[in-house]
């Protein structure tokens, strides 16, 4: 360990290292971004498709600015994120409760697992008609679709996470007098935290996809709604502008926020000491 520290101090200083990191990892991403922008602009100039089917990048940018100035963009994002937060929190609580039941009652777990796995394979869009019939064109229907679209994924990944805790951890803890609910929150949960976080991330992405799908079909506000309005008014710039917004938010949450949390936990748990 002392040796490891010595070699560490031989590494270039933080500033030089992060500069190096930027050039190696961030720069290519920026270059590709501009490349896409330029290819897109050239394709537009070639007039291969009518303008009402293929907008230019600048038209899309203008649209985003216009929607922002009208306050529609911020409102749309706000509504969608709020729905997602509410639905995902409920889904998480429900998923944890189901996973807890399945892990604690193995017979129940074995009996229900194939059905839960089956339900997870059902595309969330397939729940939309049922949601509309049960709850009408309402917020509840959107929440319903988002929850059922993500809860089974959370249940399965959490059940698996708790099951993969190394048995010697459990033995050592029981040996020191730790049992029952204490064993769960002092050992099982922290031991499986890296897997619980990746399960949460996966559940989040299911919820995100389900909500956007449902919003496009029947919402009266939110990003999916704005996207669909673009189609109804044959405003291709708005359609693409909303797609870009959805894409950006997806990257922000999944790739940046969740990945950072995951890296931090893995580092502390010693799962990837070299990153």
């Amino acid at each position: 360990m002392i040796d490891a520290k010595k070699t560490d101090s031989l590494q270039p200083s933080i500033g030089v290292r992060s500069m190096h990191y930027l050039i190696k990892n961030i720069l290519p991403v920026i270059v590709v971004f501009f490349a896409i922008f330029i290819v897109w602009a050239i394709l537009f100039r070639l007039n291969l498709w009518p303008q009402y089917l293929f907008p230019s990048p600048l038209q899309v940018l203008d649209k985003l600015v216009a929607l922002w100035n009208q306050g529609l963009l911020a409102r749309g994002v706000g509504i969608t994120i709020q729905r997602l937060m509410v639905a995902f929190s409920l889904s998480l609580m429900l998923g944890i409760a189901l996973a807890f039941l399945m892990a604690n009652f193995p017979t129940l777990g074995r009996g229900t697992q194939p059905y839960i796995l089956g339900l997870q394979t059902l595309p969330s869009i397939a729940w939309v008609p049922l949601g509309i019939l049960w709850f009408g064109y309402s917020e509840s229907a959107l929440l319903f679709v988002t929850i059922v679209g993500s809860v089974f994924s959370i249940t399965i990944s959490f059940t698996d996470a708790i099951k993969t805790v190394p048995p010697t951890y459990i033995r050592a803890a029981r040996n020191m007098g730790c049992d029952g609910i204490e064993l769960l929150y002092r050992v099982s949960i922290p031991a499986s935290l890296p897997n619980l976080i990746s399960g949460t991330k996966q559940g989040w992405s299911f919820a995100w996809r389900s909500l956007l799908g449902a919003e496009i079909i029947f919402a009266t506000a939110g990003l999916g709604f704005l996207l669909n309005v673009g189609r109804e008014f044959l405003d291709i710039s708005q359609v693409v502008a909303m797609m870009v917004t959805v894409l950006f938010l997806g990257i922000l949450f999944e790739r940046i926020i969740f990945n950072k949390i995951q890296e931090w936990v893995n580092r502390r748990w010693g799962l990837s000491p070299h990153t």
């Binding site: 360990m1 010697t168 033995r171 803890a173 020191m176 007098g177 502390r268 748990w269 010693g270």
Partner: protein
């Protein structure tokens, strides 16, 4: 702190898995006196770990019984602590968090707890590493943390399951000296399982040689050479020869 006696009487243990029933222990009987340091040596898969787990109360025997100071073992207890081969340290806690785990469970107040943690970390010379993460430690340091985590509970019996098997020679020598020192200091009973005859001869007051699976006691050697012993001591080497003769005869059977 002082040790407790162990009486193992006719313990049988079989496991039923997908590939049928495997018998790990067969009518195993052994008495260990309070404060004694006993080593158990035998080939891999002879049920050594299973025996320790049964004494710890982490597994139930199929038949037979284990008594501690005359009382039958029913549940795990912090009176009998297992030190596992890989240490089984918790990577989500730092070094002091690991050592604190059991005393926190016992509900000892915070201030008293941190005094105890410091005391036991000093005992294993790791007080400077209290805030280190587990993955930053070497194998030998990890086993010393595991020892501190066990000793802080003042166990009457320490059950050591090949604790030094995965270590390099240097760390193993250090820890073999350390465990003798800690044993003399605390007076706890130690049952120490190993597949290394030299280690068994170096550490034990008695060396219990086990048979192949299903494991049972084959021969017991008395070993009263003066302590602290080192693995290269003449007395130890002589004892190893004596034990190996019996083990070789056993394989000829």
């Amino acid at each position: 702190m002082s040790g407790a006696s162990v009486r193992i009487s006719g313990v049988v243990k079989s496991f039923t898995g997908e590939s049928g029933t495997v018998q790990a222990l067969d009518k195993m009987s052994l008495e260990v006196a309070a404060g004694e340091f006993v080593t158990l040596v035998g080939p891999s898969g002879c049920g050594k770990s299973t025996l320790l787990n049964i004494v710890a109360g982490l597994e139930e025997p199929t038949s037979g019984l284990v008594e501690i100071d005359g009382k039958e073992v029913e549940d795990p207890s912090s009176d009998r602590i297992v030190v596992f081969q890989d240490g089984a340290l918790f990577p989500w806690l730092d070094v002091s968090g690991n050592v604190e785990f059991g005393v926190k469970e016992a509900g000892i107040p915070k201030e008293k707890r941190s005094q105890e943690v410091t005391k036991y970390l000093k005992m294993v010379q790791l007080d400077k590493f209290a805030k280190s993460r587990i993955h930053e430690l070497s194998g030998g340091m990890k086993q010393r943390v595991a020892l501190a985590r066990a000793l802080i509970l003042k166990p009457k019996i320490l059950l050591m399951d090949e604790p030094f098997a995965a270590l390099d020679a240097q760390s193993r020598d250090d820890l073999q000296a350390k465990i003798q020192e800690l044993w003399l200091e605390t007076g706890t009973t130690i049952m120490f399982v190993t597949h290394n005859v030299r280690e068994a001869a170096c550490l034990g007051d008695r060396v219990v040689v086990l048979t192949r699976r299903p494991g049972t006691v084959k021969t017991i050697f008395d070993n009263q050479a003066p302590r602290p012993r080192r693995i290269e001591d003449e007395d130890v080497i002589e004892k190893v020869r004596e034990i190996n003769k019996v083990i070789e005869r056993q394989t000829d059977d």
